[in-house]
């Protein structure tokens, strides 16, 4: 009887030792994986602790953005609102959001692309701080044309976050990639790593800058400035955790695309009505 008890004890001890070993190995593996792989687990780990925002729990939301390119009229109010809201430099080289115009002229196989930052368009508005698309194809026969609003894709596996040497840029628990301007060293490696050209250098602050889906607004229950001002509802924003939110319905009711899915970045801006040439 005693022997049986001893055996049980020794087996229990061995099990608990193996258990500890397992935990230790798993912990070690997780540390390595968290360090190397740009996974959500790492984003969540990086995100802790939660910021002290009154009446806001970032673990309860999963923000996402939709763009219905079939609705966009290229009025560029979104660009203007974003620049004002986020105090982005008023020139033609720094944008948290921008709009691209794709025009297929009759007989041409590929699109002619420009944005509000194109010199011809700037000339038409007579200022880098005012935005409009010049009617440059007035004389030509246009076969097909559409606008595509662009902004940070707040990727699930953001390459910009992966490369930041100090972790100044990170993914929040609610799905937004933000930058700590007090910690960024200004190396611009993240600017290089973003395949969408969504990041830029803020020369005033000597740090990198980008779209945050107006994080200061969405955490107060407001919409991002660009969504707020869009007169045609081409920009859709909401919480994917809420099945009835505009973004959940947008994704449910449409066949949506993301930009450059081949990169593995898994963007969280979902597009409807974009053509094969849109990158």
């Amino acid at each position: 009887m005693d022997e049986k008890k001893k055996l049980e004890e020794s087996q229990a001890a061995r099990r608990s030792f193996l258990g500890y070993l397992g935990v230790a190995l798993a912990g070690g593996a997780a540390t390595v994986a968290a360090g190397v792989l740009p996974k959500e687990t790492q984003a969540a780990a990086d995100a802790a602790p939660a910021p002290a925002i009154p009446n806001y729990d970032w673990s309860k939301h999963q923000w996402a953005f939709g763009v219905d390119a079939t609705k966009c009229i290229g009025c560029l109010r979104c660009v203007e609102a974003c620049k004002t809201e986020n105090e982005v430099a008023g020139d033609a080289h720094h944008f948290r959001t921008w709009v691209e115009r794709y025009v297929y002229l009759d007989g041409e196989r590929s699109a002619r692309v420009d944005s509000q930052a194109d010199p011809v368009n700037i000339e038409a508005s007579a200022s880098e701080g005012k935005y409009r698309f010049a009617n440059r194809y007035k004389e030509a026969k246009v076969d097909k044309a559409f606008f595509v609003p662009k902004l940070c894709n707040q990727c699930t596996h953001p390459p910009c976050v992966q490369v930041c040497p100090v972790g100044a840029t990170f993914k929040t628990a609610d799905g937004v990639v933000v930058i700590d301007h007090t910690y960024c060293i200004g190396c611009q490696y993240c600017v290089q790593a973003c395949p969408y050209g969504a990041r830029f250098f803020n020369e005033e602050l000597s740090v990198t800058d980008k779209c945050t889906w107006c994080y200061h607004r969405i955490t107060k229950g407001l919409l991002p400035a660009c969504v707020e001002v869009c007169p045609v509802g081409a920009r859709i924003f909401g919480d994917r955790n809420d099945k009835q939110s505009p973004i959940s319905e947008f994704i449910r009711n449409n066949r949506v695309n993301v930009l450059r899915p081949d990169t593995g970045n898994a963007p969280n801006v979902f597009y409807v009505g974009i053509d094969k040439e849109v990158r």
Binding site: G35, S115, V161, V166, Q192
Partner: protein, 394 residues
């Protein structure tokens, strides 16, 4: 007041934010300097570890060259950073998934190794000088000896063991440092021009040839300045080393280029347009033609003909100068060229040259020259020469 940024002109469609180049000339100088560090260390290791006795005249000089270049490696990075005062954040609070965060550790490890190896190599000289000189410099040597004055046979044997071990450890150290620089570019999937698994290897080989070429140039110049005869046998071995590595480096580069074109992934049309217009002169003519193919032909001719004496030294020297230029052009074509191809795959940007300013041509030139001014001072304090009585006899 200086403008905060210089916008780049472009053709086709580029993302609006791309019109300000994130990385400028300082990031061209940075991999060039780390390459020289790794290359010069290779020369030193060929003697210390692999026993190439012919390289004795330059072995210790190579170590000092590597050290002087390494000291200046962080300078272009600091000049580039928006907040250089926060640079050490990358070491104190590194983000482990970042290739760049590892730089501080690689560099720190290698600098310490280099300083210790240099100390062991020059210890006998420092001890002799500390005991002989009574002036201020003598005091400096006393301090540098760190209280270690034993030059007995046993102590020297102990030193030699350390030098050998450090030289071995330095091989992965120096080459890891530079291979990592290649990885920094090659690991980015956002730019087709950079995104290649071969990038670290190409960087490594170009580093070795740049370091060997630098040693050839510096050695010949130093002999002229010191008015001592050039050891042609040593230059010949360096020439052979350069020749071999160069052929391999050029081949690697062409294979990489060929594979990029052959795969013909998205954006290749723009890349082809880029290389056939804008890159024609800096890449095909300057880097490949004049910088790489010409010295290979010169060296092949010299070795085939069995040239000796002054003609051999002159030929190798010319090849080394061309090769140094080629590697600098390679760094330029990678760093700047990569950013000239827009991420949209439908546009090209033109790098806006700046003369003045923190990352301008003048500042970059100064950072590039600075290590050699330091070397000029260092060889006076720690003479690495084997051919003069004042030199180290180890």
């Amino acid at each position: 007041m200086d403008p905060l940024f210089v916008a780049a002109p472009f053709t086709g469609y580029v993302y609006p934010n791309e019109t300000v180049f994130p990385w400028g000339l300082m990031i061209v100088i940075y991999p060039y300097l780390t390459g020289l560090v790794a290359g010069a260390f290779t020369v030193s290791s060929l003697y210390q570890v692999f026993g190439l006795q012919r390289l004795r005249p330059v072995a210790h000089f190579a170590l000092l060259t590597s050290l002087c270049c390494m000291i200046f490696v962080p300078v272009p990075l600091l000049l580039h950073l928006g907040h250089p005062e926060r640079a050490l954040n990358a070491v104190f609070t590194p983000h482990w998934s970042s290739a760049m965060a590892m730089f501080g550790f690689f560099a720190g490890f290698y600098v310490i190794l280099l300083i210790i190896e240099t100390w062991f190599v020059f210890r006998p000289y420092m001890v002799q000088q500390a005991q002989r000189r009574k002036d201020l410099l003598g005091r400096l040597y006393h301090v540098m000896c760190l209280g270690s004055y034993d030059l007995s046979e046993e102590a020297m044997r102990h030193d030699r063991k350390w030098i050998f071990a450090l030289a071995i450890l330095g091989i992965p150290g120096a080459h890891g440092l530079h291979g990592y620089v290649g990885f920094l570019f090659g690991s980015l999937k956002s730019r087709e021009w950079w995104s290649s698994d071969m990038m670290p290897v190409i960087f490594l080989f170009s580093a070795i040839i740049s370091g060997v070429a630098l040693l050839i140039v510096l050695y010949v110049v130093s002999c002229k300045l010191r008015r001592v005869p050039i050891d042609a046998a040593c230059v010949k071995v360096l020439g052979y080393t350069l020749w071999g590595f160069m052929m391999f480096a050029l081949l690697l580069e062409l294979v990489e280029f060929g594979s990029l074109v052959y795969k013909g992934r998205e954006g290749i049309d723009m890349i082809m347009q880029f290389i056939s217009t804008r890159l024609l002169v800096p890449f095909f003519i300057l880097q490949i033609g004049i910088g790489a193919a010409t010295p290979i032909l010169i060296l092949s001719f010299l070795f085939w003909r069995g040239t000796t004496g002054r003609a051999l030294v002159a030929g190798i020297m010319l090849s080394a100068v061309l090769e140094l230029f080629s590697v600098l052009m390679m760094r330029f074509n990678v760093v700047i060229g990569g950013q000239e191809i827009a991420k949209t795959g439908t546009g090209l940007l033109t790098f806006p040259w700046e003369i003045f300013g923190r990352e301008g041509l003048l500042a970059s030139g100064a950072v590039l020259i600075a290590p050699f001014l330091l070397l000029l001072v260092t060889v006076r304090i720690l003479p690495p020469w084997h051919d003069s009585p004042a030199g180290a006899s180890h």
